[in-house]
Symmetry: C2
Subunit: 442 residues, 2 copies
């Protein structure tokens, strides 16, 4: 076992012990820790921002050298207007949520890349839900991470929350050792690039909550209103193209190719979006798009319909029916968020029942798929899993239940139905005096 491995075992074991103590704390004690965390981060704003500034300077250099993506740089910067205040506000929003109604999962491992504010979001949600959390940040945010880690640890030390409840791992290359701690860690949440998420999913036995792709699609039905289509499609694609809830594929019913599509396309082109079109839609658009925008229109390849562009690019495909649209989406989407634009509630309900995604929206932008929008205070991430937690994950996704029975010397043999206890003959349900319920009803 390498030094890193034994460190990982220590970190994971102490988190597991802390989680058991944390699980027995009152809501008041957990809230108090969040209040302390909030004021410590407020008080140490200058120190943290100074550390963050150094990270940003190094990253700017790397971006100029071409070794770092510019979007990472943008996500790294804590000094952007409102960002630090939002982070602080998030802690209080989570504190003021109702006490979650179930019991904590145990120990969470969160692996993230650039965004330093994730530390505060996750620490708040973990403490509020009674889970211990191990956080591992990316190399670009090393300085910010170290500064925040010190503040978080000091703040928690003044509360009843065990110090090992929130551990910030600074060691490089600790990820694979941590991913091996399946006897202590109950859930891994990777937050970052597709590559990070795929790497995590392929290298651990611990359940992983998150999403690799966010290939969101929209379908414009034959009866859609032009203005609704324009508004929703433009917002979904352009509000924040680099987000996982941005639109990537547009399916258009053939009967509205000449009526609705040109209006939608024109609004998208005006916002600088490039359109990759199938032959039918391309022919229509070529006729109506002005010459100065012609370069933004091109033929789609098959892979365009499987691509999360995360940029001002949209793949467009003509479909002959809602059925065809549903089949296309269920085949190529990533189960994140998909949209229908229609005036028919029957069509909308059919689409919403048939599409197998975390979010299915009717006449509303895919950009609403967000924990804060859903009223969760903040989120630990967005899940495209089919079990446990789906879509934006807040407190509820960090909890589970247990069954408690209160008896008075009850034995199961008394409740067999006369044939005798062989384990397959439990035809009576629990005696009434045995209350069965989840943790919160204690």
């Amino acid at each position: 076992m390498s030094l890193t491995d034994s460190n990982a075992v220590d970190v994971a074991r102490s988190a597991s012990l802390a989680s058991r103590q944390l699980a027995t704390l009152s809501n008041e004690a957990r809230n108090e820790a969040l209040t302390l965390l909030h004021s410590a981060l407020d008080k140490n704003r200058a120190t943290i921002l100074a550390a963050n500034k150094k990270d940003v300077e190094l990253a700017t250099q790397a971006a100029e050298d071409g070794t770092l993506n510019h979007s990472v740089l943008k996500r790294l910067d804590l000094s952007r207007p409102g960002k630090y205040d939002d982070m602080l506000e998030g802690i209080l929003s989570v504190r003021d949520l109702e006490d979650p109604v179930s019991c904590p999962i145990g120990v969470l491992l969160i692996i993230f890349e650039a965004r330093p504010e994730v530390i505060a979001n996750i620490a708040a949600l973990a403490i509020k839900s009674g889970n211990a959390a191990i956080l591992k940040g990316g190399k670009e945010s090393t300085g910010s991470f170290a500064a925040i880690a010190t503040v978080v640890s000091d703040a928690i030390a003044d509360s009843q929350v065990p110090v090992s409840s929130i551990q910030l791992v600074k060691t490089r290359d600790a990820v694979s050792s941590l991913l091996a701690q399946d006897s202590f860690i109950d859930l891994v949440i990777p937050r970052g690039s597709n590559e990070l998420v795929r790497h995590v999913k392929e290298n651990t036995k611990i359940p992983v909550l998150g999403h690799a792709d966010g290939l969101c699609s929209a379908y414009i039905h034959s009866d859609a209103k032009v203005q609704t289509a324009v508004k929703v499609i433009v917002d979904s694609k352009t509000d924040y193209p680099a987000a996982c809830n941005a639109l990537e594929t547009l399916l258009v019913h053939e009967s509205v190719l000449e009526s609705i599509l040109p209006e939608v396309a024109s609004a998208l082109l005006a916002k600088g979006v490039s359109l990759r079109c199938d032959q039918q839609s391309l022919e229509v658009l070529k006729k109506v798009v002005p010459a100065d925008k012609a370069s933004q229109i091109s033929s789609a390849t098959d892979t365009d319909y499987e691509t999360e562009f995360l940029d001002l690019v949209l793949a467009i495909k003509t479909v002959s029916s809602a059925e065809t649209a549903i089949t296309h989406i269920n085949t190529f989407h990533s189960g994140h968020t998909d949209i229908i634009i229609t005036e028919s509630s029957q069509e909308a309900n059919r689409f919403m029942n048939s599409i197998d995604s975390a979010g299915v929206f009717w006449n509303a932008s895919s950009r609403f798929a967000d924990g804060m929008r859903y009223g969760f205070g903040t989120e630990v991430g967005i899940s495209t899993n089919k079990i446990h937690s789906r879509g934006p994950v807040g407190l509820e996704g960090l909890t589970i239940y247990k069954y408690l029975i209160r008896g008075d010397g009850h034995g199961a043999a008394d409740y067999h139905d006369g044939v005798g206890g062989d384990g397959n003959r439990c035809n009576s349900t629990l005696p009434h005096m045995c209350l069965r319920h989840h943790l919160h009803e204690v």
Copy 2:
């Protein structure tokens, strides 16, 4: 790709397609399929029992040759009094449950060993919850499995439920190929030995729901009532020792070693239970146990406290406090079901909050940890997972939710709070006219 692999892909893909159609069927249509399934299994009782009889004959031979465990033989036999009727009744119980309030997970893969009635239980729960299911049985039940498979397929063919919704895989050695179909299969449920469950967990990327061990423990606190302790411990250990919810470890507070333990031990010994004791409890029992029972008492080894005996054997350990008992249980248990015997609600609540198990019972037998006891009609298994579903898993554990938004051309940009949409500034929650809710509220 071997023939088996391409078969597995076909089975999994067709199940996935069927699951999408199944997800859109009404509760009435799904209930009708269950009614048809029930009458078909009733009508073909003689054929199925004849096939089962042959399986039992072969298995009896194997058991006599020593190549098969006798408990497998017992579980295989569908002709035992009441067993077939229970299986039929289970289908109707599930049919008559309320329509589950969320949406189906998708495709389930159930791998089971001897018990042929599992087919009917799982088929009923899968259809009711709108999930497709692929069932793979063990070799001992080949004949019963084939007979039931034919009846199930024929019954479903007469309903609106797509035929591929319930597929019974008879090919030998198909398990590893099926476990590789993570793009089509959403959840694996292994039902059988520890070895089976471990093998499945280690050989698939698909989430696995179930339990390997059922190491249930009980703690007798210093204020316990003798008769409660005797009743609950004897029932937990002896009602059905081969079940996963049977008691395996007994912790006794040192202050009641001489008062309560002898009574509990005497009742257990009378039922033929062997006791493996730590030094303190052994000394006490040696003094009080009559000579003709002395051979049932022996010294415990360390591994006895980590062993699921599944037999009339119980490990006993003396503890100096409830705290010590909690630490012992959280260290050695399997997270299945644990018990406290106490008259103090404060001690009971502390224990119930601190023990990290699917079930924590106060003065009641561990044998109550069962889907039918909990009112689930039947169960697909008992889960010791920390996410999604814990304890006996019925309909609820086979469902997930999705978020549906109904808008009227809503764009997220209108709900930013003035700083401009950069994806981190979503401080407004969803507009009120956008209802957000789970599938059942459509």
